[in-house]
């Protein structure tokens, strides 16, 4: 079958689906949807449809990014705009089927928004909502819209057009197009993709390799997972284009084993490509050969570093080596190798499908296009977002993210994972792009964006990241192996109230040594979370060290829980919940926490009814509470 024929078939199927007289229901079943309970929703849907004798097409799609509203479905009735319903339960599914599919009430009280032609009274347009309006979808163009296990749906939405276009161009022209687009590597370092390809293209040798780095190891980041689960062909088409441009005939996807669904989707996608002659020998009769293998990582963060990744593919311990030689000269098995990250590859296919100038019309002068971020932590609307480079952090957190939950105060945003830093309030109005974030001491990184509020302790966050990098250091470089341990020890002491004057200076000194004395980016950037928090939140470090006080009331060793006599109504809930039997009281008695028994688990704080809010946390000051229970009302 020629590509034209495949395209025609895909188009007629797509048309048939859209002209169907049956209702169509899309349900997000990526890992996040599943974690929120999509499976129960799927079951409830089947049951309700059967009960009401409705024939509908149910399609499982990837993540549209509105993770805060999962489980999520999109219901399309013939001739009507489709309606999104979020935060579903099986009970709500029953109501929606009854009222909107059997009846004619779209339930504006439950609906999030509509998509498609026409409007429904009382329901806003989904893409006009504050969460979606500022977003531009290039990488996520198909996520949540198509069935990722159906190559036809990718093709009918422009899929593989980019590759077809590339085949008609000379390899050098493809590389030039990439340079013109201004695309920079989305894995974190931001190196210009076209230039990287040029190096590998120019390297002598007939055997060359392409690698897709899908070892998304940054804690707090899941953009690559979502793309592979929701639109695997977008990534694989990018690899085809890259292989053609560079002259590679073999490719690898190095993916972490923690992403079983993404691996499954890739395997299905590769099989479909082979069936359609889009992979293998003599692709589409062009004489171009390309094969892709999947390599599962085995749980080592350092394997995200390109030389370590290659060592791992070769079957060795994933330890980085010094560069030069760069992978473009001597990579996998000593052959020229080009490594790009998942998001970069998904951008490549989009650039060839549309054009370099179209891509370059988004973003800033030096940072073109869009960037996906996983917006998580203390923010109302958590999820996966894609925004043009240069958008302000405020627009992301308060516009798209809807601000901080529970009326708390914003403190910082962590970008770039263990390699990045924390951006304070003063950075809220600066643009998010490679240059501005680097100037602030952080990095764009692969796209993790963790929002922190006043209850997050910055010293503890720094300790958290050091704990991570210290355990993930491969041990090759002394500075990284021992230095991260030293920094972690110092941070442990500070958060345990054993900090000493001079600790901050020592952290800065050791951090500097690790930066300079490590071969790879893991060590080179490991001190960043500490250095940026010292730069912007030095007062928190000083409070821990000098006053043995944790301003965020987060460090266990430095806080005390106590019950406010004036607020306690003697209900006894806290005493019942306390696992260490540290709370004394009695009926209608003001309860008291025995500080010598309290393990500071926080359970009492959680269970105290909100109308009383009698449990309080203090740090650095003596607890103001009676030693023994007294009757409620204060009269003994």
């Amino acid at each position: 079958m020629s590509f034209e024929e495949i395209k025609r078939e895909a188009a007629s199927q797509w048309q048939a689906m859209h002209n169907s007289s049956r209702p169509r229901i899309l349900i997000g079943t990526a890992t996040c949807g599943m974690a929120a309970g999509a499976e129960d929703i799927l079951q409830a849907l089947g049951k309700e449809l059967e009960k009401n004798n409705i024939k509908a097409d149910i399609m499982q799609v990837g993540c549209i990014g509105l993770c805060y509203a999962e489980p999520l479905i999109e219901v399309t009735k013939p001739g009507k705009p489709s309606v999104f319903y979020g935060n579903l339960t099986p009970e709500l599914v029953a109501e929606i089927v009854r009222d909107w599919l059997v009846g004619d009430n779209p339930r504006p009280d439950l609906a999030m928004g509509t998509r498609g032609e026409g409007t429904l009274e009382g329901i806003p347009k989904l893409f006009e909502l504050p969460v979606l309006k500022p977003q531009i979808r290039i990488v996520l163009r198909n996520c949540g819209n198509i069935d990722p296990a159906n190559i036809h749906q990718y093709i009918v939405n422009g899929g593989y057009e980019g590759f077809i276009k590339a085949l008609k161009m000379k390899p050098q022209e493809v590389i030039d197009e990439m340079k013109k687009s201004g695309l920079r590597g989305r894995g974190g370092a931001g190196f210009p993709t076209g230039t990287k390809w040029q190096f590998c293209h120019d390297a002598p040798g007939t055997i060359k390799y392409i690698v897709c780095n899908a070892d998304e190891g940054d804690p707090g980041a899941f953009m690559d997972r979502a793309v592979m689960e929701g639109d695997p062909h977008a990534v694989l088409e990018g690899m085809l284009i890259g292989a053609y441009a560079i002259g590679a005939s073999e490719g690898y996807v190095y993916i972490r084993a923690e992403y079983p669904l993404a691996i499954k989707r890739l395997i299905v996608a590769l099989k479909q490509m082979e069936e359609y002659g889009l992979l293998g020998d003599n692709i589409l009769g062009s004489g171009f050969n390309f094969h892709i293998k999947i390599k599962e990582g085995a749980g080592a963060f350092v394997c995200g570093e390109e030389t370590a990744l290659m060592a791992s593919i070769e079957g060795n311990r994933g330890m980085p080596r010094s560069r030069p030689p760069f992978p473009a000269q001597s990579g996998l098995w000593g052959k020229p190798t080009n490594i790009n990250n998942v998001e970069t590859w998904a951008n490549v296919s989009a650039i060839l499908q549309k054009s370099a100038s179209w891509f370059a019309s988004y973003g800033t002068e030096k940072s073109k296009g869009t960037k996906t971020f996983s917006l998580v932590g203390k923010v109302v609307r958590t999820g996966l977002i894609e925004v043009p480079m240069g958008i302000s952090l405020r627009e992301i957190i308060y516009g798209i993210g809807g601000g901080i939950p529970g009326g708390k105060k914003y403190k910082a945003t962590q970008t770039g994972g263990p390699s990045g830093g924390c951006l304070p309030t003063s950075f809220l109005d600066s643009p998010v792009d490679y240059e501005s974030l680097a100037a602030a001491g952080s990095i764009v990184g692969s796209g993790g964006m963790v929002v922190m509020d006043e209850t997050t302790c910055m010293v503890d966050v720094a300790r958290y990241f050091l704990n991570f990098t210290q355990s993930e250091s491969c041990g090759k470089c002394v500075m990284c192996r021992l230095g991260t341990k030293q920094m972690l020890d110092i941070l442990e002491e500070i958060t345990h109230g054993k900090g000493r004057p001079g600790d901050i200076e020592l952290l800065l000194e050791v951090g500097d040594a690790i930066k300079n004395g490590s071969l790879c980016a893991l060590g080179g950037t490991a001190p960043n979370p500490v250095l940026t928090t010292i730069r912007y939140f030095r007062d928190e470090y000083e409070a821990h060290i000098n006053e043995k006080r944790c301003p965020a009331l987060a460090c266990r060793a430095l806080v005390s829980y106590y019950i406010i006599s004036e607020k306690c109504q003697g209900c006894g809930i806290c005493a019942k919940a306390c696992a260490s039997e540290a709370i004394k009281g009695g009926k209608r008695m003001v309860h008291v926490i025995d500080q010598s028994k309290c393990i500071k688990c926080g359970t009492c704080f959680d269970v105290c009814p909100a109308k009383f809010s009698a449990v309080a946390i203090s740090s650095g000051v003596p607890v103001k509470a009676p030693a023994e229970p007294v009757p409620v009302g204060g009269k003994a």
Binding site: C67, R225, A300, G315
Partner: protein
């Protein structure tokens, strides 16, 4: 080298006999060619089959891909996925990624440790549960996340997490 012998009752090695391991190893290796690059995929298969990588299996693999046994051991200890001692029938993984961390994972970890009476990485004496913490599952928007036997549970609280393992009993 601290490698426990196969324990009776370990996940799929019912009898834990050397012979059983030997037979299963032959089965696994039949799918490979014996190239160095296959070392990690082979170990992954072994880990999946037995729930850990027995010493005997490592020696077999070393012969198969023509590397010293120390190399196989070196790789087995480098990657977090490989366990050298038998794991429990139920694997409870708690995410300690940044998103989960700021949303309360540390308390879930400590309460689960108390509940099961084991520390991170430990296995209950009856081989019922293994408790692990994992750097990130990539379900950060639904933090905190707990995974029990590959089923992902989002928006967890210490109580909800404890109920996950009560249901199993």
């Amino acid at each position: 080298m601290k490698v426990a012998p196969a324990i009776e009752g370990a996940r799929t090695v019912t009898a834990g006999h050397d012979k059983a391991i030997e037979i299963q190893m032959t089965e696994i290796l039949a799918h490979f060619k014996g190239e160095k690059g296959e070392l990690i995929p082979i170990l992954q298969q072994v880990q999946q089959r037995f729930g850990y990588v027995p010493e005997q299996a490592m020696k077999r693999i070393a012969e198969f891909v023509h590397v010293p046994a120390s190399t196989v051991f070196g790789i087995g200890t480098f990657y977090a996925q490989f366990k050298l001692v038998p794991t429990g029938r139920n694997i409870v993984k708690i995410c300690r990624g940044t998103g989960c961390y700021v949303r309360g994972a540390p308390r879930i970890i400590s309460e689960m440790e108390n509940k099961l009476g084991i520390k991170d990485g430990g296995t209950t004496p009856d081989l019922e549960y293994t408790l692990e913490t994992v750097a990130c599952f990539g379900s950060c928007a639904l933090a905190p996340v707990v995974v029990v036997n590959d089923k992902v549970h989002g928006r967890m609280t210490p109580d909800a997490a404890k109920k996950l393992i009560e249901k199993k009993n």
